[in-house]
Symmetry: C2
Subunit: 324 residues, 2 copies
């Protein structure tokens, strides 16, 4: 029977290193890994790991769910209607099956836990730094900060926007505008880039109007657009709320949707289906985000695949009546 | 003792649906999931799943590793020196622990397997369509096609490029150019976007020179750049091979690296460390890519977290002597 000691001897490393390679935990160089694997193969060593390792870890971990006051208020005031409620329900349900216990806390003043999930777009570089110093695994849920190299679960805005814009182009439309929220939001920026990329690849000119979702200045935005005599064939909006406000303003001015202008949103919020006209949009898989967050924080807790990754969920195009 | 039937009755759904929700498999609407979870909570139902479900699936799956001839030839001729060898070794080793058996085949003519891993950048929309029709799980390894919404494991080129460019800016440099390979490559495109984003955010003008890595026209590119009297303070290259060729051409013209021009590459290939001067670069975690591919294809095979996602690995900035 080949033992882990035999492998270590043949590879010229310690048994601890062999164990780290087999379980894919800790910091082992590529070169050492290749040596260990070669030894494992040559000796035909059969380790028992992974599935059994996962099953072994049936202890309960305490995971902090960290939200800002602003986010909680937005939920309360139904500005982000059911978005985070669905994500967090899924997270807690699936997490429960991994033996995770959850505890809600303020993003800016976390109490002691085994790991943390930082929810929404209020996490800054400074906040990431603070959590790094706590020395426990953590991940960003529905947010990312470029250059920070921190684990995160996000929606692939680029891909959804690219798909929707390409769809309109394939339908023969050329004058397609993008009305978007503030681009310091990771979500809005990805959608902006996806729209831009699809337009440029088709040799079309991207055209943007920025909209302030707190002030709700859609009346001004549409007025400004029309005063320039700039009537698009389609508008891709950076989310459903924005799309609905665009439609409202166009209606006020007797511009018909979708006959004169096609509108596509993003998110597929509950009211998108019952809106008049019902909204063509990209469905964000909120419950899947929660489930993936539970899976990922568990992996980090048990030390499996610990190299930081961005997991981004693809959206689904839902064709309804607001577009061609 | 609460049973799955009790949960189904309370939620007003079938037991099969409850089971699908608990195991997070198959197509169940968010609304139904919320109902089932509510019933589980109210009844305090305790399902046995996940870790045990994973352990249960100890059957052997056959996974096809699908490579194009072009890719195999590039490895043979050491154009992509050890890149895919490391990825695939890790994939097979970690996959083994999940009970996966691997079988190499031609990307364009797959034979029957339980799942497929499509390696490298030769996968097109048409190839994806062909694999979709096979009806088995599959994922793209080190590649993605915008709008295709297919599972993939990639390196986060955007983030690495953003980080490296921001690093140069923080060091006080302003005139930073990007020399890149063909942008239809998913990898090069991400790095291009990351560089652009960091430059624009700092209010600097991005400047690009395209380089043809098959023709190796670096002599012409550098000649053209210098003839315009356009000498940068730094060049971010889209990979290490490109960076090395840039340095060679600059040396020929007596331009000193890093004293006059800082150079940063991407990949951290083995020869980067021993190059003269040693190359500052972004390390790509090839073995981690392989390990994540094994984990992901296994998840898809056992039907866990089946919603398609892009998993992109963050790189690590390695400061050596070719840059400030």
């Amino acid at each position: 029977m080949v033992t882990i000691e035999d492998v270590a001897k043949k590879a010229g490393v310690s048994t601890a290193t062999v164990s780290r390679v087999i379980n894919n935990v800790g910091n082992v160089s590529e070169k050492t890994k290749m040596k260990v694997w070669k030894a494992i193969n040559e000796l035909n060593y059969k380790p028992k790991i992974l599935a059994s390792a996962l099953a072994r870890h049936r202890e309960r971990f305490l995971v902090g769910i960290c939200e800002s006051e602003r986010l909680k208020n937005m939920e309360k005031e139904k500005i982000v209607p059911e978005f985070y409620t669905v994500i967090l329900t899924a997270l807690e349900q699936i997490g429960e099956e991994y033996g995770l216990k959850f505890c809600k806390m303020n993003l800016f003043s976390p109490t002691e836990c085994d790991a943390y999930i930082l929810v929404g777009g209020d996490t800054t570089k400074e906040v990431v730094e603070m959590y790094r110093e706590l020395g426990k695994p953590f991940l960003l849920l529905d947010h990312y900060i470029p250059g920070e190299k921190v684990d995160c679960i996000v929606t692939n805005g680029f891909d959804g926007a690219y798909y929707a814009t390409s769809y309109l182009i394939k339908k023969g439309l050329r004058k397609i505008f993008h009305i978007h929220g503030p681009l310091n939001s990771y979500g809005f920026k990805g959608r902006y880039d996806g729209y831009t990329s699809a337009m440029k690849e088709a040799g079309l000119l991207p055209k943007y109007y920025e909209y302030d979702d707190v002030k709700n200045n859609m009346d001004d935005v549409i007025e400004f657009m029309l005063r320039k005599n700039d009537i698009p064939e389609a508008i891709f909006a950076s989310n459903d709320i924005t799309a609905m406000r665009i439609i409202k303003e166009l209606k006020k001015r007797n511009i018909k949707v979708p006959d004169e202008v096609s509108i596509i949103g993003f998110d597929d919020i509950i009211s998108a289906k019952d809106f008049e006209p019902s909204l063509t949009t990209l469905k964000v898989f909120k419950d899947e985000m929660g489930s993936l967050a539970a899976t990922r924080i568990y992996e980090l807790l048990v030390g499996h695949n610990v190299h930081p990754v961005m997991v981004s969920l693809f959206t689904k195009f839902i064709k309804r009546k607001s577009s061609i």
